[in-house]
């Protein structure tokens, strides 16, 4: 499971496989670019350094999947949701779609629940607890992080697995 942000290439996961073994969907109106797999493979054969870059991208996907596996297996709901909010804020800030404090969070509670293997009622309870503990506010679909250090502690969030440029590792620096 993963939430992608603009600029991601989620379908690299199936570039060298015959069958797409998972599905991709949009949760907001999106502009989607499609590149023929054969054209992509041809491009990589002609420019091997692009192959390195795309390979690196899928390795980072794998790092994100590992982090999620640990979360779903070992973190309680409070930690899982805090971790996901940190991840989304960091990724959105890195691509210039958030300022490190506030971002659009169009993901519904039911979608959070489905992604993290929780019930919707539990997600609602945890979001209220995160609010009650002064870590975030959620007004409509706008998320504001009030206490970044507190939120990263709650989610045991260490952005290393996102392998971002050092200047994008800490959304606070963008604020």
């Amino acid at each position: 499971m993963a939430f992608h942000v603009p600029g991601d290439i989620p379908d690299l996961q199936s570039l060298h496989l015959r069958v797409l073994d998972h599905s991709l969907g949009t949760i907001t109106p999106c502009e989607v670019g499609f590149v023929n797999h054969e054209d992509m493979r041809d491009l990589i054969r002609r420019f091997p350094r692009l192959g390195d870059v795309f390979w690196r991208d899928t390795l980072i996907d794998a790092a994100i999947f590992r982090e999620w596996m640990v979360g779903i297996g070992r973190r309680d709901a409070y930690g899982r949701i805090a971790h996901l909010l940190c991840e989304l804020m960091t990724k959105l800030t890195a691509v210039g779609l958030a300022d490190g404090v506030t971002c659009e969070m169009p993901i519904t509670q039911a979608e959070f629940a489905d992604a993290l293997g929780l019930s919707t009622v539990h997600v609602n309870r945890v979001l209220q607890a995160l609010r009650g503990n002064g870590l975030i506010t959620l007004k409509g679909s706008t998320l504001t992080v009030l206490d970044w250090d507190g939120l990263t502690r709650a989610g045991e969030f260490d952005p290393m697995y996102l392998h971002l440029d050092p200047k994008h590792r800490d959304p606070k620096l963008a604020a």
Binding site: Q109, S119, V121, N124
Partner: protein, 84 residues
Amino acid sequence: MPRFYFDVGEGARFIPDDEGLEFDSLDRAEREAALAAAEIGRDRLPKGDARDITIEVRNEHRQRVLTVTVALHIDRVAPSPVAR
């Protein structure tokens, strides 16, 4: 679709649900309440800050329609000394 509200009680703590969720039947709402109570119990009960989790489900008129309770009982006993 009818809307249901799920108020969560964790020991002395009470978390009211002001937003509610839509389910097509009371059976579905009951299933969600049971699942949520079990999950919240899994997270909270071993920490010992609450010994039972209750979820009260209310209908769109805010009338209570069911309550789910998940409790954890630990029975620690002092065994009598074993004769050697």
